[in-house]
């Protein structure tokens, strides 16, 4: 068997592919985080909790109303998105003119409250959620066994990521958004309703997190603490990619997934820390991140 650095080649290919799958989750989440930071100037620490909510809403829909996976993929992000809009309107919007720290503290507190509430009712062990019939099973690729569901995760998240990127970079609405990032007052002077745009942006980014949550439900156990560790990693990814850079967050998300996968092969003990090592190195060499521009 052919070997690369002492690891059999098929195993390595498998790890790369798995890294890519995990990377697609990271990309979906870091994309939302980057959009929120870019437009609202808020570091949304509730992102992990909202991702968990997406998975939980899907489970609740199935458990109580018999609504299956496919409708949930749309309905759960909508419900969580509306929840996000309420948060933005009632609380977050009051903090825009203050230091970043206030938004961070508020969303961090919200994350603790949301997680605590779910733990109180459902415990931490989690709830089972089976993938839909059509996505069960898998294919033998020769070098590894790829579960159909994991393949679907890559496809779905890439579609959503690219769609969002096109929306921001190639449409008129996206142009308004980008302009609002540069100069909020000026865009408002042109008669565009900036506060509404910010509310919808937050709702949309939160819905993205919930979408990732629904995608994750059949892979991981649906548990109130599923987003707890993720948020720190995803935040590091956004920092590496460059705060506010959308393309940066998508590419970095995929890249970090792959690096993590490789670490799990060569030095598994470090797999949960490698992302922070990379973050430290990037911050030393390029303080604005790989794809970021200096902000004034």
């Amino acid at each position: 068997m052919q070997e690369i650095l002492g690891v059999p080649a098929p195993l390595l290919f498998g790890q790369l592919l798995i890294g890519l799958i995990n990377g697609s989750f990271y990309a979906l989440l870091s994309l939302g985080l980057a959009v929120i930071f870019g437009v609202l100037n808020v570091i949304n620490f509730a992102h992990g909790a909202l991702y968990m909510m997406g998975a939980f809403v899907a489970w609740l829909l199935l458990h109580h109303l018999g609504i299956g996976y496919w409708p949930s993929l749309l309905v759960a992000p909508l419900i969580v998105g509306v929840f996000g809009i309420v948060i933005e309107r009632t609380m977050l919007s009051r903090l825009y003119d203050l230091d970043h720290l206030y938004g961070l503290l508020l969303t961090f507190g919200l994350a603790l409250i949301i997680e605590g509430t779910f733990i109180n009712f459902y415990g931490v062990s989690g709830q089972p959620y089976a993938p839909p019939e059509i996505l069960t099973g898998g294919h033998n690729l020769g070098f590894m066994f790829l579960p159909t569901y994991r393949a679907w995760v890559i496809v779905a998240s890439l579609i959503v990521c690219i769609g969002t990127w096109l929306l921001v970079e190639r449409t008129r609405l996206g142009a308004y958004l980008r302009a609002a990032v540069e100069n909020r007052e000026l865009v408002r002077a042109f008669g565009i309703n900036v506060p509404l745009m910010m509310t919808l942006t937050y709702g949309f980014a939160v819905a993205l997190a919930a979408f990732a949550g629904v995608l994750a439900a059949p892979v991981y156990t649906v548990s109130p603490i599923m987003g707890q560790h993720l948020i720190i990693v995803v935040f590091a990814i956004v920092v590496i990619g460059g705060l506010g850079s959308i393309l940066g967050s998508i590419l970095t998300g995929l890249g970090i997934g792959i690096v993590e996968g490789l670490t799990k092969t060569f030095y598994p003990e470090a797999s949960s820390t490698v992302v922070f090592v990379i973050m430290a190195i990037v911050l030393i060499l390029r303080p604005n991140g790989l794809f970021g521009r200096p902000r004034e």
Partner: protein
């Protein structure tokens, strides 16, 4: 200073000394304070957490709420699975709050840290939640009792059963901390003793959400059995994902070396059916266990007790009996008394605490039911075999506890 004031001061000192002396021979502050220290919000919160606090309170209630004329109080705290947090809570409880006994403490690394504090401060420590056998070997202490299970019992139960069923070659997925390493070491020994071999292992960080990379490595090893030397959410995630990667369908068998009934509940019987587990307690075993489980479930939203929570009840009850017997709550004194008395309750029949602090009782090898066999929620296990206590736990002469004279 006048003669009068010197006399007064010395009288006061003498009175103080008398009070301290009296307190030493007696129950301190006339209150027996029980501190339940465990994971309240992380991955072990369901198997210990609030349930263990409820179990401790039930034990106190059933005991009558008083030892002699001293009140019994239960306090609780979250150690967040961090040794530094756990040991500083233990220190504060003992130094400032007058806690007399610390119970539960899952997560071996935290238990080992708490062990240092309680043995130094002569406070009883009854561990139900942690698994590492180091607690009754190199790190053993005269103030300590290990109640419910340990990594040796798990590996003897599950490891031996799986090797006997034909699982000769093993690959381990190991949680990268004290407990996981100990469990892997103990199970490897059992596997080799019974004619099996260990092909390799991979260490994963605690609280990993994605196991696919590790599972692929295990798959590539070609081992008959993938031993999961981890616990809680790590075990359930690994099993769930192994299922989707076709590992079981490919002919490899999974052995969850430490599985709790809450894990089976999280997985659902579709995924968990057929797993072999070792447990110190199953609620649906006798009339007494069912009676306790029903009362427990009433207070816990219908959840049946895990072995850890049942163990907390049993340990606290036995502790209170010992305090009552000697009218003293000093750590070493009570534990010495506890060692003299046999344990007979719904949890253990003729259980006994050895010199090294190990509470020896029967363990049960169980198989998880299929969805057809189960009559509903929490009806999850068939008991395959009762493992007598003397076989289940590490023999005294093989241990390395300094308290054992041999």
């Amino acid at each position: 200073m006048s003669i009068k004031s010197v006399a007064l001061a010395s009288t006061a000192l003498a009175a103080l000394a008398a009070m301290v002396g009296a307190a030493q021979a007696d129950i301190s502050d006339n209150v027996v304070k029980i501190g339940v220290l465990n994971d309240r919000s992380g991955l072990y919160a369901d198997l210990s957490g609030e349930g263990s606090v409820v179990a401790a309170r039930m034990a106190v209630e059933d005991f009558g709420g008083k030892v002699g004329d001293a009140d019994i109080e239960v306090v609780s705290a979250d150690h967040q699975n961090k040794p530094d947090v756990g040991s500083s809570i233990a220190r504060e409880w003992i130094d400032q709050d007058g806690v007399d006994v610390i119970v539960d403490v899952p997560t071996s690394s935290v238990a080992l840290a708490v062990q240092q504090v309680t043995s130094e401060k002569d406070t009883a420590f009854l561990d139900s939640g942690a698994g590492s056998t180091a607690l009754t070997n190199d790190q053993c202490a005269p103030t300590f009792v290990h109640w419910t299970y340990d990594t040796y019992a798990m590996s003897v139960g599950t490891g031996k059963a799986v090797v006997e069923q034909g699982g000769k070659s093993w690959f381990f997925l190991t949680a990268d901390y004290a407990f996981g390493h100990q469990l892997e070491k103990d199970t490897s020994a059992v596997v080799k003793e019974n004619g099996g071999e260990v092909l390799g292992s991979v260490n994963h960080p605690l609280s990993t959400s994605d196991f696919s990379s590790f599972l692929l490595q295990a798959q590539a090893s070609g081992a008959d059995v993938i031993g999961l030397a981890n616990a809680g959410g790590d075990t359930t995630n690994a099993i769930k994902q192994a299922n989707s990667f076709g590992i079981v369908q490919g002919g490899q068998k999974l052995a969850a070396l430490l599985g709790f009934i809450t894990d089976v509940d999280a997985l659902g019987l579709d995924v968990a059916q057929g797993l072999t587990l070792t447990t110190g307690f199953y609620w649906d075993r006798t009339d007494e266990t069912r009676e306790f489980a029903d009362r427990f479930a009433e207070k816990m939203n219908g959840q049946k007790p895990t072995m850890v929570q049942a163990g907390v009840y049993s340990a606290v009850t036995h502790y209170l009996k010992a305090v009552d017997e000697i009218d003293d709550d000093g750590g070493e004194a009570v534990v010495t008394q506890m060692k003299k008395m046999p344990i007979n309750d719904f949890f253990a029949e003729n259980g006994k605490i050895r010199e090294d602090g190990r509470m020896v009782h029967d363990m049960y090898l169980v198989e998880v039911k299929s969805p057809d066999q189960s009559e509903g929620k929490w009806d999850y296990y068939n008991i395959v075999k009762t493992i007598p206590g003397d076989e289940a736990f590490q023999p005294l002469d093989k241990g390395s506890c300094k308290l054992v004279s041999n």
